[in-house]
Symmetry: D2
Subunit: 347 residues, 4 copies
């Protein structure tokens, strides 16, 4: 197996770490070299994730017990905040994809305002490349450190970036009404995420204050004629996986909803993971469950000069571990789809 | 029991009929006189709804086999379309609350455009009073025939009517992003509503084409300075009950989100079933499950001059059978809350 | 309101406490006098349970801050283990129904073996009456302290007691395969009860070691010709409420399954909360959701001389708060059904 | 691709057909040659199963429009009853794995008694080999027609066969208390399988009369010292996928539960899809979701001389399409695990 790419995972005890393991099990050119989990050091993966019990995997270890440089690529699944400290001292050899929010915002002041503390690794922050693969592909290919986008943000950005880039929609008036499965909240034991508190119900949270809004704005502004400011409302759906974004946009003068359809189709022609449904199509999160796909659809609005975009992803795959592997593949010069060719699981 | 109000239910074999029975079981001034269900005539209620097996209820009969005039009030739970024909020939004695969509739109042309066929009982259509109780209370009190509002529409209208009436929000740019539990689709056996097709997923449907949009517009226009046209997107949530509406509005000049809070609070002061949460509150459908309550909350937006309203109801109660009983109580001169004082069921 | 019975609730911050509040809101002869919750002292109920926000309820207080004797009856919803200490020093005036497991087992040695520590209030343990209402009614009526049965145990015992009492089934070979909703695990934040860990899956736990087995055996032995020892396997169902017990029994010589049907029907004739379905009936937990009902059914087995019993309850009602109120009503000389006449909620 | 094995699927419009397509997408030595679906002929797979929209698949056709002989192997996913007629006239070239119940029972009289009609293809019935792969492997390898076992039966049989074969448990007194996800009921639109009728609840069905009981008995009797008759109770769990069997057994003289553990471990050593958990392990259906795995565990009982077995599978994979592909691989001389190496999906 000497010719396989060696992967290390920092923080393998959460859902995104486990999802990376699931996907990498089918990656023919990669193998897991080491796994860390501070509190669960010494345990086999199957003790935390019995569904992975059939895989041959190294035990989890403390971060200071592994040879970090022994990996060609590192997926960092540590919690927000802790990641900065952990990545600051990494050897510079391995490529790194960070799944936390720590390196997504480029402006240290904005970071401090949004996350409530100054950034602890400003140099790394400058070096990091934002990993919305389809739209930053060349930068990702050359990067050493990729900041993997959030799940809400990926889902919203894939719908909006091509339309802003092509000047088809206005920069103002964008509303992202987003709905997420519960796995986005992680595996930490919190009352709010108990089955009894989530099932058979629906609610919004962090209305107008969610940290993904500035991230979406940063990305959209990269491709728009002028800075973009959005309305963003996240909601919690009683399901494990999936993000559904209903996006309300205003058309630029003379543009029709059909033009958005054409714009998305041409932007994503040939893309392996983004599929534009026929005009007025109805994507569902269950159509992408477990896969790296993003499905997009365009609908005309009842209001002249407006349109509605629908975008779905699996928050743990295209919204986390899947896109991370997609980025890692690019950074290592591998086929971009390696480990990511699983069809969705339905029902 | 001679002094109890006698109730008849047309079409008692669906979820709204069963919900009316559940609520009326606790109504001290009402009793069920007859129940109809064409295909299930002759059966006891418990054969269709085992959860009601402890109640003493008459058997279901064919409509032509019951003495319709023997009821003081009739709740009509027949399907859309069939209702017009059924109500045309009713004796004029009993008060009627119709839970279908047949009498909600006042304009016969609009009705024909939305429902794809001319209205079959235009005279009744003219007579019908729209039953959003809190805002048409006096008209309901004097009505013989009330058109009970839809579930999506009730939830959206309760949030918007007072703000339009007070001139706090603009008539344009209103977006209602609504999410519903599955019971809103009724009990008919359809592939799309199978457990396997709905659970562990989320999707939008009838984007920009749902029939509740014109109904909402008619009601809002009643209270606004000029005709209102809205954007309305319904979604299906893997839960049995509940409607959650996230409503995006634009503030009139000089108005702040806090003013919407005050406006809603004063509009609903003293209302038994509408509760305005503290500013930036987070209602959840599970907080109203099984009850006639509507919870409202106001949030400032990240965008200057805009605000976000949250509104939740139980689609089978305030969105159907509960509001129907509320209207019936009014029409009969009873206490408006009769049969409707059940606290929600959680978890 | 001077003529209403005053109720105090110890430990009102959990699901059983909240469920007692929901039920007591409809109890015409009772009112809440005080509520305790150590960690949430000072908070209104609505802060913990927004679904109860429309009720007029006292704030939660520390136990040492309330006048315990000001209540005619106390429902104790404290955690297992803590209850012994709390109840030891209660004033002897109020009637007490304890919903914990602390006073269910009569034998101090058995208690110590099952719960891993000696009992801390052996005198109270002796005084306590086991509160399976239908079968200990006279003792409950005269009791000062009732030990309210567990949810699994109530569901199993209601099916088995009359058959053992009538000598229709053998004392050996009883298997209780039980399935519970998640609310039985309480509101504590535990990884195992997260939505993501429970939904879309099924598993057994505490196989052959669950603490409800000795409790069931103690009760069954009270009514059987000789000590009973059972097999008991609990499972977790991805639903909020409900217990379903599938009970395998061996018939005594000459007895047929039809005789079990007759036996149960005659045992429960006139009982307000236990309903025996027709022979081979199919009860479901959703038929009792939110109500104090227990539904029972008898099925013949494919094996000669054996039969299968099905029993369902709502674990938070007949399995906890509902039966507690039923017992409290008896102890206070009230109508046994006070506060318990709510029909189930479906769907 | 001339060297790939060509697969045809009869009845590709149901969940088992779709699941076969999902799995075969990852099978490196197989490709889909044709798909039939009478009522959906002419449609692409994605019209029925949007989650498979990224796969390159032939359109569905009527059975009489495809060249049946063009396939090396045929997976028959037609409904019970229809299958006999369809398979009678198949060309004898292709290997056939039938996923219906039509060829599982060997005795025509038993078939007629269980299915209510005489068998329509008795010669084929005689030819068919029962496809519980791990225990009929050599017969499967040489078969032309394999009757793929049912989902309940696979799950129960994998736990019991080795223990009966080794004489560790008694042939009498076996109780299989089984719990299934809803996808086992297929995609037909039935009221009983609506989301609203299934979610947030639990019930038993077909108590002591389910057709899988005789199938289990036939298989167990193949490996037991004398004919086996079992008690079998199926239940419906509000989840999409998964079978959980709780199996109660009586030990032969001198045998301990630990011996069952050893017996299962040695029976399944080296098996790629059956994993015996450590003694007293707790498998969950979510640990095998989407995979061909079966997890087994042994627990001692509270009753001397008895034990409890736990067995879980995914009903659509090891209980249907997965085991069918496993059998097909064997029949074609391919690696038995081809297309079946996907790890489970969790959460």
């Amino acid at each position: 197996m000497a010719d396989k790419i060696g992967i290390g995972i920092l923080g393998a005890s959460g859902y995104t770490g486990a999802e990376a393991l699931r996907l990498l099990a089918g990656h023919r050119q990669a193998e897991i070299r080491w796994l860390t989990a501070e509190r669960n050091a010494g345990q086999p993966v199957a003790a935390l994730f019995p569904h992975l019990g059939d895989l041959s995997l190294p035990r989890m270890e403390r971060m200071d017990a592994v040879d970090l440089a022994a990996a060609d690529a590192i997926l960092c699944c540590l919690p927000h905040g802790l990641t900065q400290a952990a990545l600051k001292d990494l050897p510079r050899g391995p490529k790194v994809v960070d799944l936390s929010a720590d390196f997504r915002l480029r402006d240290p002041d904005l970071y401090a305002a949004v996350y409530g503390a100054p950034h602890g690794a400003v140099d790394l922050q400058k070096e990091a490349v934002y990993g919305l693969t389809e739209h930053y592909r060349e930068a990702v290919r050359g990067a050493r450190l990729v900041a993997n986008p959030g799940c809400y943000t990926t889902t919203a950005e894939l719908a909006l970036v091509p339309l802003l880039k092509a000047g088809l929609i206005r920069e103002d008036g964008i509303i992202v009404d987003a709905k997420s499965g519960v796995s986005g909240a992680g595996r930490a034991a919190k009352e709010a995420n108990l089955f009894t508190e989530v099932s058979e119900g629906f609610h919004a949270y962090a209305v107008a204050t969610h940290r993904h809004a500035p991230e979406i704005e940063q990305c959209l502004s990269d491709f728009a004629a002028r800075p973009v400011r959005i309305t963003f409302t996240p909601h919690l759906v009683p399901m494990n996986r999936g993000i559904f974004a209903t996006v309300y946009v205003k058309l630029k003068g003379g543009v029709r909803a059909e033009d958005l359809q054409t714009g998305l189709e041409s932007a994503y022609a040939g893309e392996p993971f983004v599929r534009v449904l026929p005009f007025k199509g109805l994507p569902a999160t269950r159509h992408v469950r477990g896969s790296n796909a993003c499905l997009l659809a365009v609908h005309p609005s009842r209001i002249e000069g407006e349109a509605i975009l629908l975008s779905v992803t699996d928050n743990l795959v295209k919204g986390a571990a899947g896109q991370a592997i997609q980025n890692m593949n690019l950074m290592l010069g591998l086929d971009e789809t390696g480990g990511l060719d699983l069809p969705p699981l339905f029902p």
